[in-house]
């Protein structure tokens, strides 16, 4: 397999440092409602899988993309290859030999051509291989598709690629079907298929998370070796910060379609700034049982990406939340319901005072609740507050106004925080002053 000597000669000159430039990328999915909701003209839900991400990928680096499942990492990775269309924003690929190219505007043949330079490794190696293709066919297919090699040359290149990913003796693996291989071997085959076109950038979407513990390190090492040999640039997607520490030069922490913190790996680990990063770091299992600390995972679950929280989308789960985080009606509902789980005996009476909570589901900085008289509702809210006075939600309440039988709780409105410089990293959190 030919290597890319031009990389070695050109990188010291510093030509075109950035290989992929992502500018305010957004990928939204329109969810089709059921037939019934379409009949009633209900508005279709829109999942903001990626919602305004800007990042530059430098040639030769490993950028880690870390976040819980559902934070939009895979969608981001797929958008880089043009596998899902960008709803908004721009992806620019600075090709080594073809100059600047707009991935986000490519279609059809142009997009297929792009895949000789940008490649992807998938999470589930078993699902990523066609069950009815042999390893030889599967790994060689990119060369056939792009009419790069056929016949004997094809076989030679396939063999070289398999050799390169450690599937040797090659003759033994060529005629195998995916179902005959182990998970690690399958992932090696998937990697071989991805590198056979000599790409510049490899997007690896949780490449080891489905593999046995024992082979994870080997696969990651293989990927590092390949990066050295072939001058690759990686986007490494994972939900596991520990493997990112081992693998990445730079880490971007993603939450609900946005980057909340991005910086050099060492800086992220030594001095995490965003409360979400801190929570993720605490959640890393401690290898030393004596040093086990109680792991406080962020409370609650990752919210619905179709209706993200107002303001900072992490605020409902944040341990350091303050008044300007974007508190809203749904947070109040959660709080009241939590109160009832603690005070079950009070539920019937208080439910009558509060009335229907359904209206709180509509995201708003004004929450109107109550059916049993404003005074009683206020008293109830005071009782709830007294239970947990340091609950951060109360800091975000600007005032409570009587409105007939009910009260209107007004929260301090807030926009989603933008990424800002803080020490060696960029972080999107109101705790750090925005200097721009």
């Amino acid at each position: 397999m030919p290597t890319k000597p031009e990389i070695l000669s050109s990188s010291p000159t510093g030509r075109s440092e950035v290989v992929l430039d992502i500018d305010q990328l957004a990928v939204h999915f329109q969810l089709q409602g059921g037939a019934l909701s379409r009949l009633f003209g209900l508005k279709a839900r829109r999942v903001r899988a990626v919602d305004g991400v800007s990042v530059s990928l430098k040639r030769g680096e490993v950028l880690g993309l870390v976040g819980e499942s559902g934070s939009g990492k895979s969608t981001f990775g797929r958008a880089l290859l043009g596998l899902v269309p960008a709803t908004d924003g721009r992806i620019t690929y600075h090709s080594q030999d073809r100059g600047e190219r707009r991935v986000s505007e490519m279609r059809g043949a142009e997009l297929r051509q792009l895949r000789t330079d940008l490649q992807m490794v998938f999470q589930d190696p078993h699902a990523a291989l066609n069950p009815s293709m042999t390893i030889e066919e599967a790994v060689g297919h990119p060369l056939v598709i792009h009419k790069i090699a056929s016949g004997k040359a094809l076989k030679t290149q396939v063999a070289a690629a398999l050799e390169r990913v450690g599937l040797s003796p090659v003759e033994r693996f060529l005629p195998k079907y995916p179902s005959d291989l182990s998970g690690g071997q399958k992932q090696r085959a998937v990697i071989a298929r991805a590198i056979i076109l000599n790409p510049e950038v490899l997007v690896a979407d949780e490449p080891v998370s489905m593999l046995d513990m024992s082979v994870r390190a080997k696969i990651l090492q293989l990927m590092l070796d390949l990066k050295q040999e072939m001058g690759l640039t990686y986007v490494y997607i994972t939900h596991d910060l520990a493997s990112a520490k081992y693998f990445c030069d730079r880490i971007a922490i993603m939450y609900l379609g946005r980057i909340v913190e991005i910086g050099p790996t060492a800086e992220i680990f030594e001095n995490p700034r965003h409360p979400y990063t801190k929570a993720l770091l605490k959640a890393i299992p401690e290898p030393d049982p004596d040093r086990m600390v109680p792991r406080d995972l962020p409370r609650g679950e990752i919210p619905d990406a179709a209706e993200p929280p107002l303001g900072c989308s992490f605020h409902p789960r944040c341990a350091e939340a303050i008044e300007g985080c974007g508190w809203e009606s749904r947070d109040l509902r959660t709080l009241i319901e939590e109160h009832w789980t603690r005070k079950v005996e009070a539920y019937d009476d208080e439910k009558a005072v509060i009335g229907d909570l359904g209206s709180l589901d509509q995201p708003s900085t004004t929450a109107r609740i109550g059916a049993g008289g404003a005074g009683q509702v206020r008293a109830l809210l005071d009782r709830i507050k007294a239970e947990k006075p340091d609950e951060p939600l109360w800091k975000g309440v600007r005032d409570i106004e009587d409105a007939g039988n009910a009260v209107e709780v007004h929260f301090v409105p807030a926009d989603a925080p933008k990424l800002r410089r803080a020490g060696g990293v960029d972080v999107a959190c109101v705790l750090y002053p925005d200097e721009s």
């Binding site: 490649q119 992807m120 699902a127 297919h141």
Partner: protein, 309 residues
């Protein structure tokens, strides 16, 4: 497809017997069809022997005619053997044609989605809801004016009712296979849609086609006979067709002449049974969803009688 033969070979238990019996019955008819000129004592439309002497009408079995003759002076044994050829020709033609049309149509429809898919699904569902015999009769009528009533016409009237079956199965499998990671992986290496359909989807969505094929074949034998019985199928001087012979023989059967009705009727039943058994056997073997797991009995160890004391 590679595992298919091995899977069939490795079939166990009841499925194996079903498959075996079905295969034997079917093979016998296939042999009849292939070697009809050598097996059958006479031609299917022969009414005189070599010396030019006309056969006896409704001759009873044995006397020079192994199974007797019918009211049209035909030798029943020859008609039955030649009938196998007609039936299998029609079946083969109709199944092959409906596979060749239905499978790609389902593949493209399921893969493309959108309005193409919606229109095709609507049309196919509409065809599917009409009772199939009625549909076959309509088509036979329409084709009668244009290309007569030969084997091709009979096969074509069956094709129309079978296409929707392949279409539905292949289309639905494609819709779910389209979301598979290996299809996205194929896009990621730059495969065009036609390549994805040919190399990545086709092999994985045609798994159930052999089963539908054999079951359709069984069904086709019955429908062909029904058309013949109604006088819409193949005419007796064009080819021997069991359904037609059966309908001619009914009057005689009431008069106590049983042999012209028995043999074609038996042939129809046997061939349908044989093909159905093959289809069901294949279904048991190839269709993991329908395959019943062999459950091992779970035994709980007796609880220690601690709290009883």
């Amino acid at each position: 497809m590679r595992g298919l033969l091995r899977q069939i070979w490795n079939t166990k238990g009841l499925a194996r017997w079903i498959l075996l019996v079905g295969a034997i019955v079917t093979v016998v008819f296939v042999l009849f069809a292939l070697f009809a000129p050598w097996i059958a004592p006479f031609d299917f439309n022969q009414t005189r022997d070599a010396a030019g002497v006309k056969f006896e009408k409704l001759a009873s079995p044995g006397s020079g005619h192994l199974l007797g003759t019918n009211d049209q002076f035909y030798d029943i044994c020859s008609r039955v053997v030649w009938g196998a050829r007609t039936a299998l020709e029609v079946v083969l033609l109709s199944v092959v044609l409906s596979v060749v049309i239905g499978v790609p149509l389902g593949l493209v429809s399921g893969f493309l989605g959108g309005w193409v898919d919606r229109v095709l699904v609507f049309v196919m569902d509409a065809i599917y809801t009409v009772p199939y015999l009625l549909l076959a009769i309509i088509f036979a009528f329409m084709l009668n004016d244009r290309i007569g009533s030969g084997i091709v016409a009979a096969a074509l009237s069956l094709v129309a009712i079978y296409i929707p079956q392949y279409f539905r199965v292949v289309r639905n499998t494609t819709v779910s296979a389209r979301e598979a990671t290996y299809v996205e992986a194929a896009r990621a290496i730059g495969a065009r849609p036609t390549t994805i359909m040919r190399k990545y989807l086709f092999g994985n969505v045609v798994q159930s086609v052999p089963v539908i094929g054999t079951l359709n074949a069984a069904d086709a034998v019955g429908t062909l006979a029904a058309l013949g019985f109604l006088g819409l199928g193949i005419q007796p001087n064009e080819a021997s067709e069991w359904g037609y012979d059966l309908s001619r023989a009914l009057d005689d059967a009431q008069a106590g002449v049983w042999w012209p009705a028995l043999w074609p009727g038996l042939a129809i039943v046997l061939l349908i049974t044989g093909l159905t058994l093959v289809g069901e056997g294949l279904n048991e073997t190839l269709n993991p969803a329908l395959r019943r797991r062999r459950l091992l009995p779970v035994r709980f160890t007796p609880r220690e009688k601690v709290d009883a004391t």
